[in-house]
Amino acid sequence: MLAYLRLVLICLVLFLALTENAEPANIVLGLLIGVLVALVVRPAPDLLSIRRLPLVLFNLARYTLWLAVDIIRNGIRVARIVLDPKLPIRPGILAIQSEMKSELGIALNAHAITVTPGEQVVEIGEDGVLYTHCLDVVASAESAEAAQRTRRRLMEGIFR
């Protein structure tokens, strides 16, 4: 029940942010949409407890900031590759060990890798190995392990 309530509230806030209109009629509409979404999605109970929420939000913000810096850094790298007349790509698929425990963790891990320009997850193995296509597989193979360690540390702050 609490999980449903939480999802309805999140949907309401999203809806109000999108419509930028806090009239009672609009709030009611947002609530209705939230209930509809909750009925379709059926949220799993106990994804996170209220008491840990501030810490989780803080960790989420830190993770988002790190991701933004990573995206900008790699975006510049990819821009340089694309603008280079010789087009110096060394494409290939690299296996990255995720080591996240939950499915949600693996999914977030795959998202973090894919959202970075120059690396993108093609396939996820049953054992949580992320098969990642890289624009420059040699450079990515060197930096992948350290980057993955940072990612995992930041994400574990969110999930546990």
Binding site: V78, P91, G92, A110
Partner: protein
């Protein structure tokens, strides 16, 4: 109208527009120049999302787009963009679309096949495959 705008906001908007347009351009250029599906998805799917997010920020600074709305839109872009390019890449791999000049394929090795793809030109062989 122009004169009433805060100069700081104008500078922020200008920077965001220039950088955002630059990355959108890179996305298109990469899509044209890169050789195969997988590498093209890198350019089209993600560099462009970065550009679009910056353009949305510029619209907040000088346009009529609200900040909350822009943040929700950017969040949706950033969540949906990688999911789309992953789905396309995965589908391409499963249907056996070849990689051009692949240097290494850990996924093929796990599946117990040697490089499954036709290699149009000779890949440099000093790397482990």
């Amino acid at each position: 109208m122009e004169a009433t705008l805060d100069p700081v906001l104008q500078v922020i908007a200008l920077l965001a527009i220039v950088v955002g347009s630059f990355f959108s351009l890179i996305g298109v250029l990469g899509f044209v120049r890169l050789p195969d599906v997988y590498t093209r998805l890198h350019a089209a799917g993600k560099v462009s999302v970065f550009g679009a997010a910056l353009l949305a920020l510029a619209a907040v600074a000088v346009g009529s787009l609200g900040l909350g709305k822009a943040l929700v839109l950017i969040a949706l872009l950033v969540i949906a963009g990688p999911a789309v390019s992953h789905a396309l890449a995965s589908a391409a791999y499963r249907t056996g679309v070849p990689m051009t000049n692949a240097m290494r394929d850990d996924l093929a090795r796990r599946r117990g096949r040697s490089l499954p793809f036709a290699q149009p030109s000779d890949p440099s062989s000093d790397l482990p495959v």
